[in-house]
Symmetry: C2
DNA sequence: ATACAATGTAGAGTGAACTCTATGTCAAGA
DNA sequence: TCTTGACATAGAGTTCACTCTACATTGTAT
């Protein structure tokens, strides 16, 4: 299947402007039809879903662009790409660990608040 | 203990400029000494560590500012503050869940890459 | 034929969170 | 006394990732 930018925007949940911006930044390079309209494929769809994943896990556009360039260069860059993903996984694991630590502290804080509110209520009897 | 902005910067790992910016944005309000220099206390230290936690878990400055205002208003805002934290905990839990989902997918992708590299190597024998 | 909706490009604008520059004050050491 | 370094304010500049505007073009419905 092929999609116009409008259709692709709906499929991906990314705005039309954002899709053009991503193209400009070198993240994605859809085909063009006879009259110069962008023509996104199912491969583009899979690819953009992966881009979203990288973005959501904190990879900056520049780095995704680099990954996209390696990808466009073909099989010879497979191990370099894997290396990037392994590094990114490492960063992601650390990020998750940090957030879990924060969650614990936040739970404690909320617990403290509970007691504090209780205390204040009793004091004001 | 009391700290100059330079000392406080080192203690917190936040730049001097950033500390002044946070003050301007209403996140923190250090005392001033006789000659108008900022004079951070240990309470400020605890507070800024909490601010960092909120920031690291994705709370925007505006919202932290709101929390700071409630905090400054005293005990009467305790339950409202707790409400904010409970909401934030909810967001944090969702964020962690999303990242864990992403991690699984990334693991799969890396596994796929492993196989692909293996395959390409064999093809090129 | 004409109107319209979607698309195209180029470039400006936005908002968040810093980060830096210019300029001035002031206490302490050589 | 002179210089140095840390501090002060006000405001400009930066980076990121969009998001929007202006204007031109084109395929489709009336």
């Amino acid at each position: 299947m092929e999609y116009s930018i409008g259709e692709f925007s709906k499929l991906t949940g990314l705005g039309i402007h954002t899709l053009r911006y991503y193209e400009q930044e070198g993240l994605i390079a859809p085909e063009r039809n006879s009259c110069n309209r962008r023509c996104y494929s199912d491969k583009d769809l899979t690819w953009i879903e992966f881009i979203k994943r990288l973005k959501d896990t904190g990879m900056p556009i520049k780095e995704i662009k680099h990954y996209a360039e390696l990808r466009a260069a073909g099989d010879s860059t497979l191990s370099e790409r894997m290396e990037m993903l392994v590094q990114h996984r490492q960063a992601l694991n650390e990020q998750i660990a940090r957030l879990q630590e924060h969650k614990i502290k936040l739970d404690e804080k909320i617990e403290f608040y509970s007691n504090e509110i209780e205390r204040v209520n009793n004091t004001n009897l």
